[in-house]
């Protein structure tokens, strides 16, 4: 299936979902006023992907900021991945946070507590 590529904007993250490698990247800010509109194509891609998973799925969450409405959409995204995982496919979430960004770390821990997926908290040194 086609790789989903969406460029970043001041309010939306860069998206690269590659079915061949199983790597799903979200990077940047997710703060649109209408998050559903942004996340619908991502969820549609994930639905198609869920029927033809061939390799381990590794989610790279490299978010700088996300707003309240995105937080619900991100949870739905993880819940869909949870279904994929429960079908016997290996799914890992790498949750990135800057070294002194305890809020982003805590946000990752919140998702980790809600969904049944393995989360790796990855600390990044500031450039």
């Amino acid at each position: 299936m086609d790789t989903l590529i969406i460029g970043s904007s001041p309010k939306t993250p860069q998206v690269i979902f590659n079915a061949d490698t199983g790597e799903l990247l979200l990077e940047g800010r997710s703060i649109p006023e209408n998050s559903l509109e942004f996340y619908v194509p991502l969820m549609e891609w994930l639905e198609s992907y869920s029927h033809e998973v061939k390799v381990e799925t590794i989610v790279q969450m490299k978010l700088e900021y996300f707003n309240t409405s995105s937080s619900k959409c991100i949870l739905d995204f993880f819940r869909k991945l949870e279904i994929i995982s429960k079908r016997g496919n290996k799914v890992t979430v790498n949750w990135y946070f800057e070294e002194d960004d305890e809020d982003m770390l805590e946000a990752g821990e919140d998702y980790d507590a809600i969904v049944d997926l393995p989360f790796m908290m990855v600390e990044q040194k500031e450039a």
Partner: protein, 178 residues
């Protein structure tokens, strides 16, 4: 004494104010406000930790104005109305947002803030996770997630007050110390 918007504004904008805005809050304006406040923080070399907290809370406040700001019934210049004031004093940073709100929403809102303000850190974490995990979804409102988020991230209670106006809507002011 009748509520006077201009008077309220001049009472709350002072020497410590780094940025203020009053007027309609559409999607373009949300972006402008964020960009301007981030440019000010760049220029003044704000520490990254404070900067992140300010941006996080600012996003909640400004988008709350976008989704929920009612019009000022007495002055029809604005289709909707919101105000943001960003200040820095000896104690730290302060973000103030103000908007008009229908009386029925004001009661729900103030009850939820009072309850959330009374919680400790672990209770806040538990409440946040419970509300986030709740499957009911609204594009406009996250069931109070924004309020919980602001209290968690600022580490401070939210202060608020409201004023009756000559119209049906109330004027609601929220203040967050960071």
């Amino acid at each position: 004494m009748n509520f006077n918007l201009n008077q309220w504004f001049s009472d709350n904008v002072g020497e410590d104010t780094l940025f203020y805005y009053k007027g309609s809050v559409g999607t373009k304006r949300v972006t402008d406000i964020l960009e301007k406040i981030e440019a000010i923080m760049d220029e003044k070399n704000f520490p990254m930790r404070e900067r992140r907290k300010i941006v996080n809370i600012l996003i909640e406040l400004v988008q709350n104005l976008y989704h929920h700001g009612e019009k000022f019934e007495i002055d029809n210049d604005f289709k909707s109305y919101g105000s943001i004031i960003f200040s820095r004093d000896n104690e730290g940073f302060k973000l103030i947002s103000a908007n008009f709100i229908k009386v029925e929403r004001l009661k729900i809102f103030s009850d939820f803030i009072d309850h959330t303000n009374s919680l400790g850190a672990d209770e806040l974490k538990f409440l946040y996770r419970r509300v986030l995990a709740n499957r009911h979804y609204s594009e406009k409102g996250g069931g109070g997630l924004g309020i919980i988020n602001m209290i968690r991230k600022s580490g401070n209670k939210l202060k608020y007050y409201s004023r009756r106006t000559e119209g049906d809507n109330f004027f609601l002011v929220i203040s967050v110390k960071i």
